[in-house]
Structures are given as C-alpha cells and as structure tokens.
C-alpha cells in the first residue's frame, strides 16, 4: 500500500525544517545493571554512541543482548547505572512525548477507538476535541486507515495495529522515534510492506529513528547505520555505514552492496552468537 503524502498546512508546520533538525542522541559511557548482589545482571556494558539528527539507526544483536535495555534508556524507562543519555543536549530523566515509542507487543489502548488512540498524545497535551480529531484524520490518512477511525484495535489485523502504533507515536511530532522490534510479530509479506511504509514516513518527518531488530535483512534494508551489539552484556561491537541509495525498494536486496553488508553483519552476529552459546554452556 502506498503511503499518502499529507498536505495539511498545520501538519507541515509541525515538522522541523531540514536545517534545524532535532533528535541528536548522545549516549555517553552508559552502563546498565539490574538487581543487586548475587542476582546482579549486567545488561549493557559501557557504551558510547553519537546519533545524528535525522539518522535511521538499526540496533542489531542476538536475543537477550540488551538491545531493548539500551533503547529503554533512551526512552527514559530505564535509568543507566553509570553514564548518561542526552537528547538535544538535555539529560533523559524519564519518558517524554519528544521521544515516541513503538513496542513489539500490541500496545494500543483496547478501550479506545483507533482515532482516540492516535489522538491520545495531543489530547493529554490539552488539545481540543476538534484539534484532536483533525490530527487523528491526518494520521489515519497517512497510514491508509481512514475507514477504520471508529473501530477498536481488536478489530484490526496485527499489521494495521502496528501502523496505528506508529501513527500514535508520531502524532506528538517527536524528534526521535524509538522502535523495539515493531514488526517482529508480523508475517514476512506484511513486514516488507511495513518497512517500506516506515521509510516513506521517516523521510517525510525528518526524524531520528532508533530501530531494534534481530533480523539482518531488516536492519540493512532500513538503516543509515547498523550498530551490531555483542552478546550479553551488550555493547556495540560494529558500526556499519549503509550507503545504499534512497528511496529503497525491496529489489535492492539483490544488489552487490546489499549482499556485502549483509554478509558483514552476519559474520559479526555469528561470531557473537557462538560466543554467547559457549558462555551459556560454561
């Protein structure tokens, strides 16, 4: 399905122009441990990263390596045990609407209609009912679900629900969009479609995206930079620039550059998975 380009003036005004882009993420020597004493788990080993405004970053790593934990520290759900996370120069101390979040599990409010879900952010920010419904309509059109505004989440397919989840996060016009394996539960076909959709939305909104996945193809297809994480405790072991041209279409997956990058990623992942496996069997 094609993503529609939105022409509402109010919508255009809320998207930051190219020059003054926000969404600069600095991760400064962040280490995260859970629990105390014998139950202590080191989830993220000291990691430093600099993510530029408007960049599309994929965090790639084996299961349990701490991808979600690192993402949650940017979102503000997890406070680093050491180091700090800054977004546009400000210390992250908790979740905020400037940092939109899309979850792997379905996280729409089941008792709210699709429109109400999308307009939730604007509503709690104090917008009037009519402003909320106009925002909802704008985003419904963007994700191609205009007919579904009055439905409840359970009446939609998984892919549709996840599109609504993305729209809901974007309705706050965040500078950063954080996505934790958002397409993990979808079938391969829907997944491809969602990836293309996401890229066109991203190019329209000019925002920074940090996208967690353990699927190499997904990472290479989407990202400007793929950050490969080591097995637990997680840290970034490879920072691969993806210089594939945009806009990207699924056919790109057969190009030589794509193949080479994918192989690089796979090699890192395989080495890490092996190491993790040996660690677990020790």
């Amino acid at each position: 399905m094609e993503t529609q380009i939105i022409t509402f003036e109010s919508h255009k005004n809320k998207i930051a122009p190219e020059k003054e882009r926000l969404g600069h993420i600095e991760i400064d020597k962040v280490g995260i441990t859970f629990g105390h004493g014998s139950e202590k788990v080191e989830a993220v080993k000291e990691t430093s990263l600099d993510i530029q405004p408007g960049e599309f970053i994929c965090l790639l790593g084996p299961s349990g390596c701490g991808k979600s934990t690192l993402l949650n520290s940017i979102a503000g759900y997890v406070t680093p045990s050491s180091g700090e996370v800054l977004v546009d120069g400000e210390l992250v101390e908790g979740p905020a609407p400037e940092r939109g979040m899309v979850f792997q599990q379905y996280s729409l409010f089941p008792w709210k209609t699709i429109s109400e879900n999308i307009a939730f952010g604007p509503k709690v920010a104090g917008n009037t009912e009519s402003e909320c419904s106009s925002i909802a309509n704008t985003f419904l059109a963007m994700i191609g679900l205009s007919k579904y505004g009055n439905k409840y989440p359970s009446e939609l397919s998984g892919g549709m629900q996840q599109r609504v989840g993305i729209a809901r996060a974007l309705a706050n016009y965040p500078s950063v969009l954080l996505m934790d394996e958002p397409f993990g539960a979808l079938d391969a076909q829907t997944r491809l479609m969602m990836q293309e959709n996401l890229l066109s939305i991203w190019s329209e909104f000019n925002i920074t995206v940090v996208f967690v996945t353990h699927d190499v193809d997904e990472a290479v297809f989407l990202a400007d930079r793929v950050l490969v994480m080591s097995a637990s405790p997680g840290s970034v072991i490879a920072d691969l620039k993806v210089n594939l041209p945009r806009p990207r279409a699924p056919e790109i997956a057969t190009s030589d550059d794509y193949m080479a990058l994918k192989k690089q990623c796979l090699d890192h992942i395989r080495a890490e998975s092996l190491r993790a496996f040996e660690q677990q069997n020790k």
Partner: protein, 309 residues
C-alpha cells in the same frame, strides 16, 4: 381419580396417603386442584410443549418445564405432607404462597419493607464502591499504601457480616446506621479485592505507552488503569451486590422494625408461614434485579469488550 391420573407414581403416592392419612391443610378442595393440575389432556400438553420449543428454543423450554415440575413437586409434597428427610408438613403450598403474595401486593406496609431494604442497600453499596475502588486502586499502584491497607483486609475479610452485628450496634448511634454499615461491609471486600486484581492486571506496556505519549499520573489512571481494571471491577461490583444483600438480611433479621428481612423473620414469629416464602421470593427477585442493574450500569463502559469478540 386414580384411574384418570396420567402418572402411575402419583397414584401410588395417593394410595399410600389414604393409609397414612395426614390432614390435608390445603385451602382449595381436591376438585379444584384437579382442574388445575390433572385434568389437562396429555396430548394438549404435548402440543403446548412443541409450540414452546419451536418459539423459544429447546433450552429455554427445558428451563420452563423444569421450573413447572419443581412447583408441581412442591405442590404434591405439601398436599400429601411428604416427610422423607425433609419435612413438608408445615411448608405452605404454592397456591397458598401465591394467595399470600397477592394479599401482600395490596398492602402498603409490604412496599415500605421493600423500600427500606432498597434504601439501605443503595446507601451501603454506594459507600462501598467509593471506598472499595479507591482502596483497590491505591493498593494496586503503590506498594506503600498496600503495606498500610492490606493487613486490615486480611484481618477483617474473613469475619462474616452476621458476626459484626453486635459490634455494629455498639458502634453506631442508630439501628439504621448499623444495618447500613453491615450492608456496606458486605459489599466492600469483594469490590476492593477485584479492583486491586484489575489494577494489577493492567499491562505495563500500556502504562509505558501512555507515559511516552506525555500522560500525567492522573491521566494514566483515568485513561489506562481505570478502563483496564473495569471488567474486574464490574465483577467485584456484581459479587459485592450479592454479598451486600446477604449482609443486609442478616442485619434486618436480628434488628430493625422494617425491611424485607425483618418481614420474613416476622412472618415466622407470627406463624404466618406463606409470608415466609413470599419474603424469600421477593428477596431473591430483588437480589437478581439489583445484580442485573449493576451489569446494566457497567455495560456502556465495557462496550469495547463486546465489540472485540
């Protein structure tokens, strides 16, 4: 009569009866009952049954037939003073109960009894909802409040309403207040515990989503926790309504001059047995009605659930 009776067992009972020879304390003559219960043609019954099954479905018809059979049994058990473990000698017959019910319907005092009971239920129940939901939500969202409140629940919950009656009379200035207090207590615990359960069941990912969308604590409570807990709160409200009736009757039987519980117990004291059953049936009917009212009240808030299926 035995010759025309369709059921061989009925006639068997009748034969034993002539030997046992208990007094028949039914007000109506056997002749009248015959017309009512026995003179119906079997074929006619079959026809009525078949149209009922066709019109209302098998299960509904089965319920109706089952109820009719129960009443029929009750009728014969009282008519022939059945005394087989359960003693039917002093039990009023269905026809007597029906007559007593009609008599009560014409009596203003009867309505006052009902109104007084309803008033007590409503006051006690509303207070139980307010306090119960508040306590349940507090405990569900704050470990500290939980540590403060939960011990009281552990200690007080197992005490049945009846056991509270003497204490309630000492605690409150009027008998009315103590009965309402007992009604309130009955509804309180199921509402607290179900609210707590519902709040705890709120998926954390929804709370997180709301936080990242900029919702304040109060907004999260209103838009996420409360709606998520509502199905469970609704269940608590329904159970609470049942228990509060139960508690009310305990209170009314032991003290008070009005209320349907008092009416029922008073009928026993006055050896007015049919009115006992009238009281019981009214209690049952009011209980069912109020539980239905509760589910009706909850329905608009849970419409999203029905859409989901």
């Amino acid at each position: 009569m035995s010759g025309t009776s369709a059921d061989p067992e009925l006639s068997a009972i009748e034969e034993t009866k002539t030997i046992d020879d208990g007094p028949d304390n039914s007000p109506t003559t056997p002749e009248e009952k015959k017309t009512f219960f026995e003179k119906i043609d079997l074929a006619q019954i079959g026809l009525v049954l078949m149209t009922m099954v066709r019109k209302h479905g098998l299960n509904f018809s089965a319920s109706i037939v089952s109820l009719m059979l129960g009443i029929l049994f009750w009728h014969y058990a009282t008519k022939y003073n059945l005394n087989f473990y359960i003693n039917f000698e002093n039990i009023p017959s269905p026809l007597k109960v029906w007559a007593a019910f009609l008599a009560q319907l014409a009596d203003t005092e009867f309505y006052i009894h009902i109104a007084v009971s309803m008033k007590r239920i409503i006051i006690g129940y509303v207070f139980a909802i307010l306090l119960g939901v508040l306590a349940g939500v507090l405990m569900g969202r704050s470990r500290f409040s939980r540590a403060m409140i939960y011990p009281y629940i552990e200690v007080l919950r197992p005490i049945p309403a009846v056991a509270w009656i003497p204490m309630a009379i000492l605690m409150w200035p009027t008998e009315e207040a103590s009965i309402i207090y007992i009604t309130f207590l009955g509804a309180l615990f199921p509402i607290i515990l179900n609210t707590l359960h519902g709040v705890e069941q709120t998926p954390e990912v929804l709370v997180r989503a709301a936080r990242s969308l900029g919702a304040s604590r109060l907004q999260i409570f209103w838009h996420v926790i409360l709606p998520s807990a509502l199905p469970s709160i609704g269940a608590g409200l329904a159970i609470g309504m049942g228990v509060s009736w139960f508690s009310l009757l305990a209170g009314e039987i032991i003290s008070g001059q009005y209320g349907i519980g008092y009416f029922t117990w008073n009928a026993y004291s006055l050896i007015n047995y049919p009115d006992i059953v009238v009281g019981m049936l009214v209690i049952g009917g009011l209980g069912t009605l109020s539980t239905y009212a509760v589910s009706l009240m909850m329905r608009p808030f849970l419409s999203w659930q029905r859409r989901a299926r």
